[in-house]
């Protein structure tokens, strides 16, 4: 049960997450991420981790619940 979450106060619309997780994140017209709200499957987990690591603002996080 993994999901990506965004701290909106940190997000600055760099857009790296959308490039790394195209199935879960798309960018809106202002460049800010729109989450599909899907769960991250085990296969996508490495990509999700990479996206979290890549976020320049540290706004992205993986929550497991």
């Amino acid at each position: 049960m993994n999901k990506v979450e965004i701290d909106w106060t940190r997000c600055d619309g760099h857009g790296l997450c959308a490039g790394l997780l195209p199935d879960d994140v798309v960018l809106d017209e202002w460049g800010f991420p729109v989450l599909r709200g899907r769960e991250i499957t085990a296969g996508e987990l490495p990509d999700a981790r990479r996206a979290v690591l890549a976020c320049p603002a540290l706004a992205l996080r993986l929550s497991s619940r």
């Binding site: 106060t9 600055d12 760099h14 790296l16 490039g19 690591l53 320049p56 540290l58 992205l60 996080r61």
Partner: protein
Amino acid sequence: MRVADGEQGRLMTLWYLARAAGVVTMVMFTLSAVLGMVMPGVRRPERRFWLQYVHRSAAVTGLVLLATHVVAVIADSYVDISPTVLVWPFGSGYRPFAMVIGVLALYSLVLASLVGAARGRLAVSQSFTKHWRKLHIAASVGWLLSIGHALLAGTDRSTPWMLGITLACLGAVATAGAYRLNNATPKTTRAWRTQ
């Protein structure tokens, strides 16, 4: 005589390796620092991603070479440096002041790398995300100590090429620092301030 020559040669190889590793370590961390400082000015996602990649790779290469440098210097019998220098750098037999600077540089560079590597894993913690950048930058200031170490301890410090490399490193970081300060891109959204 020939045997002794070989022995001498092997010892010198270790010594040369130590010196070479030291110099390239400095160059690698300089590269990593420069990229780190330039990065906030880069908004294009793909470019930013590659910069991150090279920034991290340079740091990892730097760490490996740093380990090589330390092991070689200690294992080498040409100069008298014992392993305890890593814990207690004071009172080293060989250029004690330079050793202190070098060990402190090592601590801070390792810390900066650890903080950088912990980024993804600790993103869940709110206080970590809040203080991450400050920690990473503070630890990276230790890079300056490595330049000091090179100028004080390096066997080749007075050769023109070594002086050239060291000054080039300093210059690169100074330029990148100036670029960063002048091109500080503020966050596109700014929280309302009340106090």
